[in-house]
C-alpha cells in the first residue's frame, strides 16, 4: 500500500474538513467566519496538494442538505422564542437533536457543529430569561408552562454533554474554532511519521468506500455476534474515521469517559460497549490511553457474562486474552508505564505521550484480570457437557491461557512484583498439576502445532486489522507461544519454587497441595508424603476455604492411589479410608453432587456446590478410587479378621469394608460380580479361604485397571500382596488345626518362594501374632499349644474388664478432685484406646464439606484472613526454597523441628492404621 495514496487520502479529509467549516458558515452562523478562515489557512498549510475528488461533491450536497435543515430549525426556534411559544420550541429542540445526529453522521466528525452549540447557548439564555421573568411565567398557558418545565429539564441534561464547548463558546465565540485546530495541528506534528499515516489510512479507506469500511468493522469484530453492529456503533466508527487528524487525546478521552459512564446503565448494550471501547483503543492517542481503554475493554468483556452461574462466551474470552496480550505488549514496549490499582491516577495521566520520560500510572490490575479470565475458563469447562466436541475444543484453549499467564508472570517478575507473580504462577500450577506426563506432552504438542499453524494466518490478519486502524501501534513483543519444559515436573518445580519464595499463605498452601498431587501422580510417594507432613496442611486445612479443602481432598486421594501403586497398602488405606467413611466421596472431591437421604439441601447450597465442581477432565476416576480403597481395606482387614476371629468387634480397621461385607453376607444368593464392590466382595470371600488365585482373578477382571499407566507392575504387586495376605489369613485361620506345617507345603500352596514365606512367617512370629516357631532342620513351623481354654480366655477377658473398671474409677476421682496428686501410671493413656469409637480414627481430619459448609467455609475463611492459626507452611516452604533444585533430589531440604513434626505426623499417619498387625 503506497503511502502516497494515503497522504492523498489525508489531504482529502482535510478538504472535507474545510467543507464542513464552509457549511457552517453558509448555515448562517456569521460569527464563525473568521474562525473558519483561520482554520482553512492552517489546513491549506498542512495539506499542500489539494486534490479534487468526484466524490466530494456528492458528500457536500448531502451535507449541505443536513446543514440547511438544521439552520432552518434554528430559525424556527428563533421565531418560537419571539412569541414565547415553548411548546413549539420544545418540538424544535427535539428536532434539532435528531438533525444533529444526522449531521454528525454525515460529516463523520466527533465535533458538534458550531451552529448547534450556538443554538444551545441561545436556548439557555432564553430559558434563564423566561425563568427569571416570573410574571410572564404566570401568564403562560398551562401547556406552555408544562413545556417550559420540560424544556428546562431537557436542556439541562442535554447541555451537560456539551458543557465544555458551550463554555468555550461563551468565553470566546470567535476564536474557539481556531484554537481547536491549533491543538490538532500540534498534536499531529508530535506524532511520528508512521502514526500519522495510520489515521489517514483509515480515513481514506472509509471515505473512499463506505462499504469496505463496514466490512472492515466486521473483520475487526471477527465474531458472529458483532455483525449486528448497532447503528450508533457505526456512527461512532465513522465519526472517528472521517477525521483522524482531528481526533485528539481529549476527544478520545471524552468519548471514553462517556462510554465508561454508560456502563451498567439500563439500555446500554454490553456487546456494543465492548465494540465501542475496542474501537476507541484503535484511535487512542497515547500508549497510556490505549492501555487505559484496553483495561476498560476487558472489564466490559467481563460484563458480557450473563450471570454468576453462566460462563463468558468463548469468543469473547478469546478476545479478552488477546486484549490482555496487547496490554502486555504495551507494557513491555513502554516500561515507564506502571499499572496500579491502589492509587487513583491523575485525570490526565494518560495524556502523556510515548516519549514522556517519567512513570505513567494507569489504573488496572493485571493479576485480577488474569484470575478472572482463568475463572471464566474454569467455569466454561464446568458448564460445557464433557462428552461433546465443544468441551474438547474448549480444552484446546488452555495453551492460550497458559501463554498469557506466562507472559504476565514474566512481566510481573521483571517489575519485581513477586507476590503477584506468585499468584499468577499458582494459576499456571493449577492448570498443570493434575496432568500426567502423557497429557502434558499432548498439551505441549498442541500448543506448538496450533501456534505454528495459526501464526501465519493469524498474524497477518492481526497485523492488517491493527495496522489499518490503530494510532498507537503495538508490535507483538511478548511471545504468543507458550514455552513448556520437556517435563511437567520441571515446570512445576520452577513455579512452585517461585510461589514458596514469595507467595502469600493461601497461595503457598494451594501450591503445596498441587505439588503433592503432582508428586503423587508421578508415583513419588515418599516425596509427596514428606511434603504433606512437613507442611502441616493436615492440621490447618479445616480453616481454609472450601476450594482449598477440595484440593486437599484431591491431593489425599491421589496420594492414596500413589501409595497403592507403589505397594504401600497400609498407607494407601490410611489416605483413602477417611474419604470413604462418610459415603460422600463425590462431594468431597467435588466430582458430582451426591444425594443424601437424610438431609435436604436448600437450592442455595446446591448452587454453591455446583459452582465448586471440578471440570470433567480433572476428575479422579471414582471407580478406580473405590477399587483401590476397597482392595486396600480387604488386604488389611481379611487377615485381621482371621487373627481376631474370637473377638471380631475389637480391632476394626475399616468400618466401611466391614459393613459392606456384612451386607454381602446377608444376601441369600451371590450372583456374579457386577460392580467394583461386588468384585472386591467376591475376592474377599476367596481370600478368607486362603484362595489367592481366585481372589486375584476376580480383582484382575475389574476393568478399571486399564486406567493405570504401569498396569502390569501394579497387578504384579497386587498379586504378591494377595498371596502374602492369603498366607497370613490361612495361618491365622488354621493354626489351631496344625501341630506342624511344612515350609514346602506352604510354598506349593501359595506359590511363593521359600525366602518370602520364611520372611513373612518370621515377621508374624516376631510380632507375636502366631504362637509358633521354626524347626530349622525339618523346615517346619511348629505350633505351640497356647490356645487358651475357654475358662482361661474368659479369665483374661475378666481381667481386662477389671482394668477398665479401675481406670474409669480413677478417671472419675480425677474428674472430681481435679486430678491433683493422682499420679496415675502413664500407660493408662494408652489404654484409653480400648474405649470404643476410636476406631473411627480422627474423623475430623478430613475437611468436612458437610451441608452447613457454606457457613463453615466462610467462617473458616474469616479465621484464615484474620490470621487465625498461622500456617506452618512457611517453614516447609522455606526449606523447599533452600533446596538446590539444580542438583536434583531433595538434598537441601531442611528446617528446624520440621522433621520432628514429620515424625509425630507420620506417627499420626501410622496411627490411622494402628492395630493392623497385633
Amino acid at each position: 500500500m503506497a503511502s502516497k495514496f494515503w497522504t492523498q487520502g489525508g489531504s482529502d479529509t482535510e478538504e472535507e474538513e474545510t467543507d464542513i467549516e464552509d457549511e457552517i458558515e453558509n448555515g448562517g452562523a456569521g460569527e464563525t467566519a473568521a474562525a473558519a478562515a483561520g482554520s482553512r489557512y492552517l489546513q491549506t498549510n498542512a495539506s499542500d496538494s489539494d486534490d479534487s475528488d468526484g466524490q466530494k461533491r456528492v458528500v457536500r450536497s448531502a451535507k449541505d442538505k443536513r446543514f440547511e435543515e438544521m439552520a432552518s430549525t434554528v430559525d424556527q426556534m428563533k421565531n418560537a422564542m419571539k412569541i414565547n411559544d415553548w411548546v413549539s420550541l420544545q418540538e424544535s429542540f427535539d428536532k434539532i437533536n435528531k438533525q444533529l445526529e444526522k449531521v454528525m453522521r454525515v460529516t463523520e466528525s466527533d465535533r458538534v457543529p458550531n451552529l448547534y452549540i450556538k443554538c444551545l447557548v441561545m436556548l439557555e439564555d432564553f430559558l434563564a430569561e423566561a425563568l427569571a421573568n416570573k410574571e410572564a411565567k404566570k401568564k403562560m398557558s398551562s401547556s406552555n408552562h408544562k413545556a417550559l418545565n420540560a424544556m428546562k429539564q431537557k436542556l439541562k441534561k442535554n447541555n451537560k454533554q456539551y458543557e465544555e464547548l458551550i463554555n468555550k463558546y461563551r468565553e470566546n465565540p470567535e476564536s474557539e474554532e481556531e484554537k481547536f485546530e491549533d491543538e490538532n495541528e500540534d498534536e499531529d506534528e508530535d506524532e511520528s511519521g508512521s502514526e500519522l499515516e495510520d489515521p489517514s489510512q483509515i480515513a481514506a479507506e472509509s471515505s473512499d468506500e463506505d462499504d469496505e469500511g463496514e466490512d472492515m468493522d466486521d473483520d475487526d469484530a471477527d465474531g458472529a455476534w458483532e455483525k449486528k453492529l448497532s447503528k450508533k456503533e457505526k456512527l461512532m466508527d465513522r465519526e472517528f474515521k472521517k477525521d483522524p487528524s482531528e481526533i485528539t487525546w481529549d476527544t478520545v478521552n471524552k468519548k471514553f469517559k462517556e462510554v465508561v459512564a454508560a456502563r451498567g446503565r439500563k439500555g446500554t448494550g454490553k456487546f456494543e460497549q465492548v465494540e465501542q471501547l475496542t474501537f476507541l483503543t484503535k484511535v487512542a492517542k497515547t500508549p497510556a490511553q490505549k492501555l487505559e481503554i484496553l483495561f476498560s475493554v476487558i472489564s466490559a468483556q467481563f460484563d458480557v457474562n450473563p450471570g454468576l452461574s453462566g460462563h463468558m462466551p468463548i469468543n469473547v474470552w478469546k478476545k479478552c486474552v488477546q486484549n490482555m496480550l496487547v496490554i502486555l505488549d504495551i507494557l513491555v514496549q513502554y516500561p515507564n508505564i506502571v499499572v496500579d490499582d491502589r492509587v487513583e491516577p491523575d485525570e490526565n495521566e494518560t495524556q502523556k505521550g510515548a516519549d514522556y520520560d517519567g512513570t505513567i500510572r494507569v489504573w488496572g490490575n493485571l493479576v485480577a484480570f488474569l484470575e478472572r479470565i482463568d475463572n471464566e475458563f474454569f467455569k466454561s469447562l464446568q458448564c460445557i457437557d464433557p462428552h461433546t466436541r465443544e468441551y474438547v475444543e474448549r480444552l484446546r484453549d488452555e495453551p492460550l491461557f497458559l501463554v498469557l499467564a506466562q507472559n504476565v508472570q514474566e512481566y510481573l517478575e521483571r517489575i519485581g512484583d513477586l507476590k503477584s507473580a506468585a499468584k499468577v504462577a499458582l494459576r499456571r500450577v493449577e492448570l498443570v498439576y493434575y496432568k500426567p506426563q502423557e497429557v502434558y506432552d499432548a498439551m505441549r504438542k498442541l500448543a506448538e502445532l496450533s501456534e505454528d499453524g495459526e501464526t501465519d494466518g493469524d498474524e497477518t490478519k492481526v497485523e492488517e486489522t491493527r495496522g489499518t486502524s490503530a494510532f498507537v501501534v503495538t508490535p507483538e513483543l511478548v511471545s504468543r507461544k507458550p514455552t513448556f519444559p520437556e517435563n511437567s515436573r520441571a515446570l512445576m518445580d520452577i513455579l512452585v519454587t517461585l510461589i514458596y519464595k514469595s507467595g502469600d499463605e493461601r497461595t503457598k498452601a494451594r501450591a503445596m497441595l498441587c505439588d503433592i498431587y503432582h508428586h503423587a501422580l508421578f508415583d513419588e510417594f515418599s516425596i509427596a508424603r514428606d511434603l504433606l507432613l512437613m507442611s502441616h496442611l493436615q492440621d490447618n486445612i479445616q480453616h481454609m476455604d472450601v476450594s482449598t479443602q477440595i484440593l486437599f481432598n484431591r491431593a489425599m486421594a491421589q496420594v492414596g492411589l500413589c501409595a497403592f501403586r507403589v505397594g504401600l497398602i497400609a498407607e494407601g488405606h490410611g489416605c483413602l479410608s477417611e474419604l470413604y467413611s462418610g459415603g460422600r466421596v463425590k462431594e468431597l472431591l467435588a466430582q458430582g453432587v451426591s444425594q443424601s437421604r437424610y438431609h435436604e439441601k436448600t437450592p442455595e447450597q446446591e448452587r454453591l456446590e455446583r459452582r465448586r465442581q471440578m471440570p470433567y477432565h480433572m476428575h479422579i476416576n471414582l471407580e478406580l478410587l473405590e477399587a483401590v480403597h476397597l482392595i486396600c481395606a480387604m488386604l488389611l482387614e481379611v487377615p485381621n479378621m482371621a487373627a481376631n476371629s474370637l473377638d471380631a468387634k475389637r480391632n476394626v480397621i475399616s468400618k466401611t469394608f466391614r459393613r459392606l461385607l456384612e451386607v454381602s453376607e446377608r444376601q441369600p444368593f451371590t450372583g456374579p460380580p457386577d460392580n467394583v464392590r461386588d468384585h472386591v466382595m467376591a475376592a474377599t470371600r476367596a481370600l478368607c479361604k486362603g484362595d489367592f488365585q481366585k481372589a486375584f482373578d476376580v480383582i484382575n477382571s475389574l476393568d478399571v485397571w486399564k486406567l493405570l499407566r504401569n498396569r502390569e507392575s501394579v497387578l504384579e504387586m497386587l498379586k504378591a500382596k494377595i498371596k502374602e495376605e492369603a498366607l497370613r489369613t490361612y495361618l491365622f485361620t488354621y493354626c489351631s488345626s496344625y501341630d506342624t506345617l511344612g515350609l514346602d507345603q506352604l510354598t506349593k500352596m501359595f506359590d511363593l518362594s521359600d525366602a518370602q514365606i520364611h520372611s513373612i512367617v518370621s515377621k508374624m512370629l516376631v510380632n507375636d501374632e502366631l504362637h509358633a516357631s521354626w524347626d530349622q532342620p525339618t523346615r517346619c513351623i511348629i505350633f505351640h499349644d497356647v490356645e487358651y481354654s475357654r475358662f482361661q480366655a474368659l479369665a483374661f477377658q475378666l481381667t481386662e474388664k477389671l482394668s477398665i473398671l479401675a481406670e474409669s474409677n480413677e478417671r472419675a476421682v480425677e474428674a472430681r478432685f481435679g486430678g491433683g496428686g493422682l499420679d496415675l501410671p502413664l500407660r493408662r493413656r494408652d489404654n484409653q484406646e480400648y474405649a470404643p469409637g476410636t476406631a473411627g480414627g480422627g474423623g475430623g481430619r478430613w475437611p468436612d464439606l458437610s451441608y452447613n459448609q457454606g457457613r463453615q467455609g466462610s467462617s473458616g475463611r474469616a479465621a484464615y484472613t484474620g490470621g487465625g492459626r498461622p500456617l506452618a507452611l512457611g517453614q516447609a516452604s522455606r526449606d523447599r526454597s533452600g533446596q538446590s533444585r539444580g542438583t536434583g533430589g531433595y538434598s537441601g531440604r531442611a528446617g528446624s523441628g520440621m522433621r520432628g513434626s514429620q515424625m509425630d505426623a507420620s506417627a499420626r499417619m501410622v496411627s490411622l492404621n494402628r492395630g493392623v498387625r497385633g
Partner: protein, 437 residues
Amino acid sequence: MATYDLTPRIGPNLDRHLVFPLLEFLQERQLYPDEQILKAKIELLNKTNMVDYAMDIHKSLYHTDDVPQDMVERRVEVVARLKALEDAAAPLVTFLQNPNAVQELRADKQYNLQMLNDRYQIGPDQIEALYQYAKFQFECGNYSGAADYLYQYRALCTNSERSLSALWGKLAAEILMQNWDIALEELNRLKEIIDSKSFSSPLNQVQSRIWLMHWSLFIFFNHDNGRTQIIDLFNQDKYLNAIQTSAPHLLRYLATAFIVNKRRRPQFKEFIKVIQQDQCSYKDPITEFLACVYVNYEFDGAQKKMKECEEVILNDPFLGKRVEEGNFSTVPLKDEFLENARLFIFETYCRIHQRIDMGVLFEKLNLNYEEGERWIVNLIRNSKLDAKIDSKTGTVIMEPNQPNVYEQLIDHTKALQGRTYKLVGQLLEHAQAQPAR
C-alpha cells in the same frame, strides 16, 4: 568399592582443613587413582595459606621441580599478610606471652577490657587483630598457635557471633591436632550454644547442627567413650531430624554406633523405625543389614550384607581407623562390628526358631563349625542364651519360653490392686481434709 564412599557427601560439611585427613585416608586405601587425590588436595589447598605444602604436592604430582608462578606469588602474598597481621596483633600477643601480665586478668570480661585499655593500650582493634591473626595461623596450618590464640581471644571477645566462629575454629584446630579430650569439650560447648542460640532462620540452625555432627565424627570415632556419645548426640530428636532432612548419610555412623554399642538398646527399636522410613533416601550395607535383620527377617540377605559391611567399614575414614599392634594393623571397629552383628542375627534367629542346625547357623554367621560351637557354648555359659546343644544331631534346641497362663493373669491383676489401694487412700485423704477445713 568406591560406591559406598561418603567423602563427597561429607566433604562439603567440613572445614577445608578437616578434609585432609579424609583424603589421606583415601590415598592410603587407594580407592581412587593417586593423581585424582593429589589434584583434589591442590584444589583444596588453593584457598588456604599452606602454599609450601601445595608446592610439594604439585611437585610430586607432576614430577617436576618447577612450581607454577601463581603459587610463588601467592606465597609472597601470604608471607606479607602474615607479617602485617603479626604486627597488628603484636601488642596483645606480647602481653599474653607475659605470664605475670596474664595473671592480672580476671573472670570479669569488662574489667579485663578496661584494664587492657588503660594499662597496655590494647583496644578492640588489637583484639580483633588477634582474631584475624589466629585465623591466618589456622589457614597456614599452624593449628596449635591458632588454638591458643583463639582460646585467648574468646576470653576477651564480646561479640557473640565472633565468639562462635572462634569456637568453631578452636574445635577444628583441636581436631586436627588430635586432642580428642579438649575437642570433645569444645564440641559440647558449641552444641550448647547452637541449641540455645536463636538463629535468624531455622535453616541456619539445622545447618549448624549438620556441621557439628560431621565434625564430631572425628572425635567420636577416636575418643574412648565416643560410641556412646555419638548415639546420645545423634539420636536426639533435633539432631535426628537434621540427619533425616539434610544428611541421611550420617545414618551409617549412627547405625554402626548402635550395632557396636550394647548399652543403648532401648533407643534401638526407635532407630530401626527411622531406618525403615528412610530407606528411600539413603541406604548402604550397614543400614540394609539392620533392615534385613529387624524389618524383613531375611537372614541370608543379612549375611550377605554383613560381608559388604566389612568392606564399607574398612574403606570408611572414620570407621576404618587402624591400630598398629606390633606388626599387625587391625581395625578394631570392624571386629567389634562383626561380632555384634553376628549376635544380632543369632538373637533374632533364636527368637523364631525352636531347633537350629548348627551347620546352617554358622554359615549364616560367617563362622566355621569349631569356632561357632565355642561361640555358642560361651553364650550359653554366660546365660545369654537359654538353649542346649544336641551334639548328636548337631542342633541347638531353644528352651521354650512360653509364659504360664496363670502367671500372666496374676500379672494383669497385680497392678490393679495397687492402683485401687492408692485410689482409696486418695479418697480418704480427701475426705479427711474436707471436714478439717
